[in-house]
């Protein structure tokens, strides 16, 4: 016979499952790593040459944004996983396991963020090294910032997975959401060069906030406004809460009713 595991242990085991499945998809990891490295060492280096004449170090600017974009993109996968789990009936199995539904919800949202964090930590360290920043405390702080962002993005992704039932519509929505959160932000290019109409939206984007805060930690001459920390925390609270609530409601209400 078996004994009932503790909630903390269950939380870890749920996160571990997300890590295992991600690590078993090497092509996703290779693809995103290759994209990150090519963007950094080809795209950013080339654009940097153009931008140097303007007195702007684009490589440093972009390197931080690339890490933030990557974790955003990975955190979005959790919604795809949940959608697929429901389609394949795997959710029935997961919900029959000996832990509460609320623990399951928290575990999934955190799982999405933790696996993103584990995946981008080497990238963050590489970027810190390239930017000439060597303080372990600052690096840990920057990881914390992107973890907060990733948890919020996981919540957003779960929210979409719970709201959309059609697989094609869901795929398109997730792709658009990912595109919008990364592109309409200051992750890849400075706000001043964005179309005027997008600037107000981008300046309040959590991706912009995370990018600015990490840049302020790593790079001299950069700063972040206090409201950006607030935006990041608000984003986390709202979407972690929404994602959890929608998932919880779907589970408790009987998913097929």
């Amino acid at each position: 016979m078996s004994s009932k595991p503790s909630p903390l242990f269950v939380l870890w085991v749920l996160i571990e499952r997300d890590l295992r499945t991600l690590l078993k998809s090497p092509w996703i990891l290779i693809n995103r790593t290759a994209f990150f490295l090519i963007q950094l060492f080809v795209f950013a280096v080339l654009v940097n040459k153009l931008a140097t004449s303007l007195g702007f170090n684009y490589f440093d600017f972009y390197s931080v944004g690339a890490v933030v974009s990557t974790i955003t993109s990975i955190a979005f996968i959790i919604g795809e996983d949940l959608f697929e789990e429901e389609e394949l009936g795997l959710l029935d199995y997961l919900l029959s396991l000996p832990f509460g539904h609320s623990l399951f919800v928290i575990g999934r949202a955190l799982g999405g963020a933790v696996r993103g964090l584990i995946y981008v930590t080497p990238m963050m360290i590489l970027v810190a090294y390239l930017d000439g920043y060597f303080s372990p405390v600052g690096i840990v702080g920057s990881l914390l910032v992107i973890f907060v962002l990733a948890t919020g993005i996981s919540g957003l992704s779960i929210t979409l997975a719970m709201l959309i039932r059609n697989a094609n519509r869901f795929d398109i929505t997730i792709a658009l959401a990912e595109l919008a959160t990364v592109r309409v932000s200051a992750a890849i290019y400075p706000l001043v060069y964005m179309p005027k109409v997008l600037q107000p939206v981008a300046s309040y984007s959590p991706v912009t906030s995370a990018s600015d805060i990490v840049r302020a930690i790593f790079l001299p001459g950069y700063s972040s406004a206090p409201y950006e920390t607030l935006i990041l925390i608000l984003f986390l609270v709202v979407f972690f809460g929404l994602g959890s609530a929608f998932l919880f409601r779907k589970i408790e209400g009987g998913r097929f009713e």
Partner: protein
């Protein structure tokens, strides 16, 4: 003990389970018998707290599924009809994760997994991603989850679907062992031989309702007048029809060619007497065959439809 108290479950306009009331006793193998769509899986899911019943309640070991779902779930392990696990993972990874999350102690986890994998002949394939494996192997892995977990209440939904005969026999033995170790087993199946061989009691489900519950032997015995004796004679003796129908237990007798077919109750008890009568009237019996009601007949009798 598992108690279903007037349990109903509806999905939109479909009443999947309708007012089921029954008990499953400790340490018994309870066969849940019914065709696909009879409501077996839905009933299991309400017991496992995955679905909330629309009406009624399920009580498992004294815990109400509706108000104490965590306690109920900690007692149950389910082998689903269609394998439900991450197919990107290997059999060993799936079993390790399942054992961990269901609270199998660390010290015994690996031993149990090795033991079950070996019994299923999966040791060589334990590290392959499961999406690459055959349907039968996937089903074995689904069953293996419960054998590794060894829960107090083990639920198997069509455990031998897609399996070959040797594997089927092995699964049956393993289920027996599980019960011998103290588990209560709920066995949902639409295979009569499986239900007959394995179950201490069966519950017959049809169109969402539990139409009959009882021991297979008793249910078969309850079908009076359903035994059939077939005597192949050297040549027909027409007067035998009148002679054998004199017995109170005989419902009907007729010749089909040179075979005397007698429909009766208690065929086993009356066979010697009937043979005596036939011999006395000059009939020369070449072969005698006694056919008693099967679970299939029981199912047909109570539901009005054939299961297979």
């Amino acid at each position: 003990m598992i108690e279903f108290k007037d349990v109903s479950k509806s999905f939109k306009n479909v009443d999947a389970v309708k007012g089921v009331t029954c008990e499953i006793r400790d340490r018994e193998i309870f066969g849940l018998l019914g065709p696909n769509g009879a409501g077996k899986t839905t009933l299991i899911m309400t017991m496992a707290t995955v679905y909330n019943p629309t009406k009624g309640e399920v009580v498992v070991d004294g815990h109400r599924a509706g108000t104490e779902p965590d306690k109920v779930k900690s007692l149950i392990g389910i082998s689903f009809q269609d394998p439900k696990y991450d197919r990107i993972l290997s059999a060993r990874e799936i079993l390790e994760w399942h054992a961990k999350v269901t609270g199998v102690e660390k010290g015994v986890r690996e031993t149990r997994i090795d033991e079950v994998l070996s019994k299923f002949g999966l040791t060589g394939e334990a590290k392959k991603r499961t999406w690459m494996l055959s349907g039968g192997t996937k089903k074995k892995i689904e069953n293996a989850k419960v054998f590794v977990q060894r829960p107090k209440i083990a639920v198997f939904d069509e455990p031998t679907a897609y399996l070959d005969v040797p594997s089927r026999l092995m699964v049956w033995d393993m289920i027996d062992e599980l019960r011998d170790e103290g588990s209560t087993v709920v066995l949902a199946t639409n295979m009569m031989d499986e239900a007959d061989r394995m179950s201490d009691r069966v519950g017959i489900m049809s169109r969402g309702e539990m139409v009959q519950v009882g021991e297979p032997g008793r249910l078969k015995g309850s079908l009076r007048g359903r035994d059939v004796i077939e005597l192949k004679l050297e040549a027909p003796v027409p007067e035998l029809v009148g002679e054998v129908t004199k017995a109170e237990e005989v419902e009907e007798a007729r010749f089909e060619g040179d075979v005397l077919k007698i429909v009766l109750s208690n065929g086993r008890g009356l066979l010697p007497l009937i043979l005596n009568v036939v011999t006395a009237k000059g009939g020369k019996v070449q072969t005698a065959n006694l056919k008693e009601p099967s679970l299939e007949d029981v199912f047909l009798f109570y539901t009005g439809m054939k299961l297979t």
